[in-house]
Symmetry: C2
Subunit: 344 residues, 2 copies
């Protein structure tokens, strides 16, 4: 994602939790430190996955997972790591071809926990029809890591005709959302903090590539796909608006927030728009194909609650505005930093 | 690598540092826990990199890096992470096509250190002519990780005609070694422990794909390639012997151990055969092509010290034997566990 205020960092600064949170601090870190240091001048939309050089129509994506706790209602770090990378590939219109799995574990981690996590990763991969092709394990001494971190990397093959990109949204595009928001972040937070919502809220973690496959017949009319993970729907819409230089208007009444999520967010002072999701996507689709795309999403169980939540507009300032239940227009900003640490 | 004693683990056990050390404990963990849990029945040699399904002639490899300290003579975690993955691809006969980089950083890490590591990774990638195509960063709270861990994943394209595999070594193959051993492990250990060898010993960390490219004209006569990283030359030779069901005989007098490495190992009670390397490879080559292969290795600076160290033999027990300077035969076992933690 791109920063709204790419100030240079001074040498005296150091990393904050918020620099990994997917918000403005992450964007600033990328623009001012990571990309220049790597020698990769920022010159285009940052995507969830990148096209391999050559004529392969293959995309590559990687994601480190540090979620705490390792197990939560609706999933665990193993299934999450598989779904997260499968979904990043899918957001570039690709089906997963192969995954790799890198494990960093703390000395003393019980075998039972490691086995449970890997079994869950294996099952998630089989369910998504993708092989875990290779991997490696490092063990660090007690105290040098918190139990277990997984990094999954995926190679995917683009579905013919689909070329979604964060930079391809156009004014008048219809904005679709494939399911309710806020479940993953509130499920993990509730489990970690023992808040008691665990009985009512489970993570939405699931693979999204079959939804994208269902959108295949819409072809190039599918301009942009993004799964609203860290930073939630607010970050995803802001990233798209910025990368495509469009405005986005969404209707609060149309955005599905399950009652237990709304309750948990009220209690905790969280905005459901900023809570991470791991099982839904937003799609920007040319208006003449919006009904077809919505029907395609609804044709699968993971998209049965898909809805139209708004549209893209002409706005050089790339603002995201939500029409509230009271009829007012509220600017939805890019979140700044860390609202929910170690959520994925 | 395959275990010599694949005993099942009981639920009561937990991870030891040695389970990540690349020796017998790692093999046992893979065979009895990781592969079955993932649903991947061990049914072939475990390679440094895996072929992608389909007709792409592309290989995939991933590696987490947890070296401590982050900076050491001859390199740092950034350059090491690039070289390590480039080399794993090269050991399957592939040139690197693209890398991904996943960062797990501890809150409070100075930007200056992060920038220096990423600049080093970027330079190493440019020097190896491979783009860092995509990446992601997570930040965990203080104490939840030790400064910085990197996971690099690489996609490589096989050099036409080269099909090296850990399982393709054959009796009578000549065993070549591209350079001196023991530099990386002793350099990192000396720096970490402040032992004072840092002035004399620098890591050999470097990319090996150009050496492999130089072997291209030898084609299928190049049976096996392996870079002796964790577990050192002892582990690499034992893995090949086991995967190919051959014996290996090497001459102690032929194995280049730099004097400072020998001195450091003497003082520390380390066996140089078990110390990790990051800039040399072993090649098992059909005897009629051995001279050609040796000349090819020596044609490049990183292979200028290449030597013939032994040969493969008929031995169903897949033993590795070293003819010592005294003329005796010493069995070189697969290392058990951790001699040098967090060396890569």
């Amino acid at each position: 994602m791109k920063s709204h205020c790419p100030l240079p960092h001074t040498e005296g600064e150091s990393l904050l939790l918020g620099h990994g949170a997917g918000g403005r601090l992450t964007g600033r870190l990328l623009d001012s430190l990571v990309l220049p240091a790597l020698g990769a001048v920022p010159n285009g939309p940052l995507e969830d996955a990148a096209l391999l050089p050559g004529d392969y129509e293959l995309v590559l994506s990687t994601d480190p997972f540090v979620v705490s706790p390792l197990f939560f209602p609706g999933g665990d770090i193993g299934s999450l790591a598989v779904h997260g990378t499968v979904n990043d590939l899918a957001m570039r219109g690709a089906l997963p071809l192969a995954l790799s799995l890198a494990v960093i574990a703390e000395e003393g981690l019980p075998f039972g926990e490691l086995r449970a996590v890997l079994q869950s990763a294996g099952k998630a991969a089989r369910d998504a029809s993708v092989p875990v092709l290779t991997g490696d394990t490092k063990v660090v001494e007690r105290g040098a890591a918190d139990r277990l971190f997984l990094t999954t990397t995926g190679v995917g093959r683009r579905i013919p005709g689909l070329t979604p990109s964060a930079g391809r949204a156009r004014p008048q595009d219809v904005v679709l959302l494939s399911g309710p928001i806020g479940l993953h972040g509130t499920a993990v937070l509730s489990t970690r903090e023992g808040l008691g919502f665990e009985a009512a809220i489970a993570s939405d973690s699931c693979p999204l590539h079959r939804l994208v496959e269902a959108l295949g017949p819409c072809g190039p009319a599918v301009h942009t796909l993004r799964d609203p993970t860290r930073g939630g729907l607010a970050a995803a819409l802001n990233e798209i608006a910025s990368a495509s230089s469009v405005g986005v208007e969404v209707d609060e009444a149309a955005i599905p927030v399950p009652a237990p999520v709304a309750g948990a967010c009220d209690l905790l002072g969280l905005d459901p728009l900023i809570v991470a999701n791991e099982g839904c996507l937003v799609a920007f689709v040319a208006p003449e194909h919006a009904d077809e795309a919505l029907a395609a999403l609804r044709s699968l169980p993971e998209g049965s609650d898909a809805v139209r939540i708004g549209r893209a507009t002409e706005d050089p300032a790339a603002r995201v505005v939500m029409r509230t239940l009271m009829g007012a227009g509220r600017v939805v900003d890019m979140p700044l930093g860390e609202q929910l640490p170690r959520i994925c």
